[in-house]
């Protein structure tokens, strides 16, 4: 059996790939409830992370001709990323479990040696009390790092801290 090729950092110059339109997951004509998700990334010293590549993937709504479930955003000079997408619904977990609505979110950047993965849930959604991933996190303060705050109707914000007391929960996927 061959082993997987090792991961390396995406480095500071990945923007050569950047297509700003990819941050809009409705760009192929998806219909549904449009939401926005934004957030700020900071490092272990509280400094803004302005060179990150942030990617999201969602399996709900179902993948179709008009919705491919994938988005990419850079962080800007304020360390902010911005996405526009369709609100996800609950999805099946393992066995009979149901997962609360969520997105997978990956951070790639200079100084990050392999994809740093987390999830984004949405404040106020049903099913979070029984969500199989959220329930693995005992500390309520840490668990809250995976739940984006509602800033206005249809708009959410999730700030991501790479290291330190407010560190986001990252996943071993």
């Amino acid at each position: 059996m061959a082993h997987a090729t090792p991961s390396q950092t995406i480095g500071p110059y990945w923007h050569l790939l950047l297509e700003p339109s990819w941050a809009d997951l409705t760009r192929f004509g998806a219909t549904g409830e449009v939401i926005t998700l934004e957030g700020q990334i900071t490092d272990g010293a509280g400094a803004l992370v302005t060179d990150a590549c942030v990617e999201i993937w969602q399996t709900s709504p179902p993948i179709s001709e008009t919705f491919d479930g994938f988005g990419r955003s850079r962080t800007d000079m304020n360390g902010m990323f911005h996405f526009k997408t369709i609100r996800p619904g609950p999805t099946p977990g393992l066995g009979n479990a149901q997962q609360a609505p969520h997105l997978a979110l990956t951070i790639l950047a200079r100084g990050i040696t392999k994809a740093l993965m987390t999830r984004v849930y949405f404040e106020g959604d049903d099913g979070q009390d029984t969500d199989p991933v959220l329930n693995l996190i005992e500390d309520p303060k840490r668990r809250a790092t995976l739940i984006a705050k509602k800033t206005s109707e249809g708009s959410y914000r999730t700030d991501i801290c790479l290291q330190g007391p407010a560190e986001t929960v990252f996943l071993d996927v």
Partner: protein, 239 residues
């Protein structure tokens, strides 16, 4: 509905730690808490499948649209096979590539290295594997360049790669290096992989069979993405 087949854990030593002390930028950007191990649901076992019709290929990096001449530098043909850990080809998957120019400078405002830019080279490409997992593109050999990680630090010649594979859990960002580069032994990023045998999987070999006589040198770079396995999920929790 039956559960999706999870991806296998990576082999020990085959992947870098987030905290790589000789690579300075990791110091404030690595998680200090243990990662939360999660079972693989559809969120992890499936991933974006890019439609080649919507993501046009750019496999001739030596020719920028509208440029009156070819890029400066030594032409190379890079060909390879993308498989999973069980040797199964990964077909129709998007590969993104980006690289410095022949002088070792990126077409990027953040790169202030005092080396010439080539207005006929932007260093960005995109290809898809075919039905059997093969890909190919034409580029120039990127130059080595200094970086400020430590005194007199130089990155070996390399080409950046981004691959998706079958699931979001198989997302891979890596770098292709060149056989015989003496800078490899000195590079903290290359050496952030604990297992020396695993490092070699990032090194492309000169393949005289791929070389196009009188035109371009050929390099072979095969990529192995994470495989699936029915490894039972251990006790969940933070560990």
């Amino acid at each position: 509905m039956s559960d999706p087949v999870p991806f296998r854990p990576y082999a020990a030593g085959s992947q870098p730690d987030y905290n790589a002390p000789t690579y300075g930028s990791t110091a404030l950007r690595h998680p200090s808490q243990p990662l939360l191990r999660v079972p693989h649901s559809l969120t992890e076992t499936t991933g974006p499948q890019h439609d080649a019709a919507r993501y046009p290929k750019r496999d001739m990096l030596t020719q920028v649209a509208g440029a009156p001449r070819e890029s400066m530098g030594q032409r190379i043909v890079v060909e390879g096979h993308v498989t999973d850990e069980d040797g199964r080809p990964v077909p129709n998957t998007m590969i993104e590539i980006w690289m410095a120019n022949a002088a070792g400078r990126y077409h990027h405002e953040g790169d202030q290295h005092d080396a010439p830019l080539d207005e006929h080279f932007d260093g960005a490409g995109r290809v898809f594997t075919d039905a059997n997992g093969h890909y190919r593109y034409v580029a120039i050999k990127p130059g080595a360049y200094p970086w400020r990680n430590h005194h007199n630090a130089w990155r070996p010649n390399h080409i950046h790669y981004s691959l998706f594979g079958a699931g979001f859990a198989s997302r891979l960002i890596t770098q292709m290096y060149f056989e015989g580069d003496p800078l490899l032994a000195l590079d903290p990023i290359y050496n952030s992989i604990p297992d020396p045998a695993a490092r070699l999987r990032m090194v492309a070999d000169l393949d005289i069979g791929l070389t196009e006589p009188e035109w371009a040198l050929g390099y072979r770079f095969n990529v192995v993405l994470r495989g699936r396995g029915a490894t039972p999920f251990e006790e969940p929790g933070e560990h």
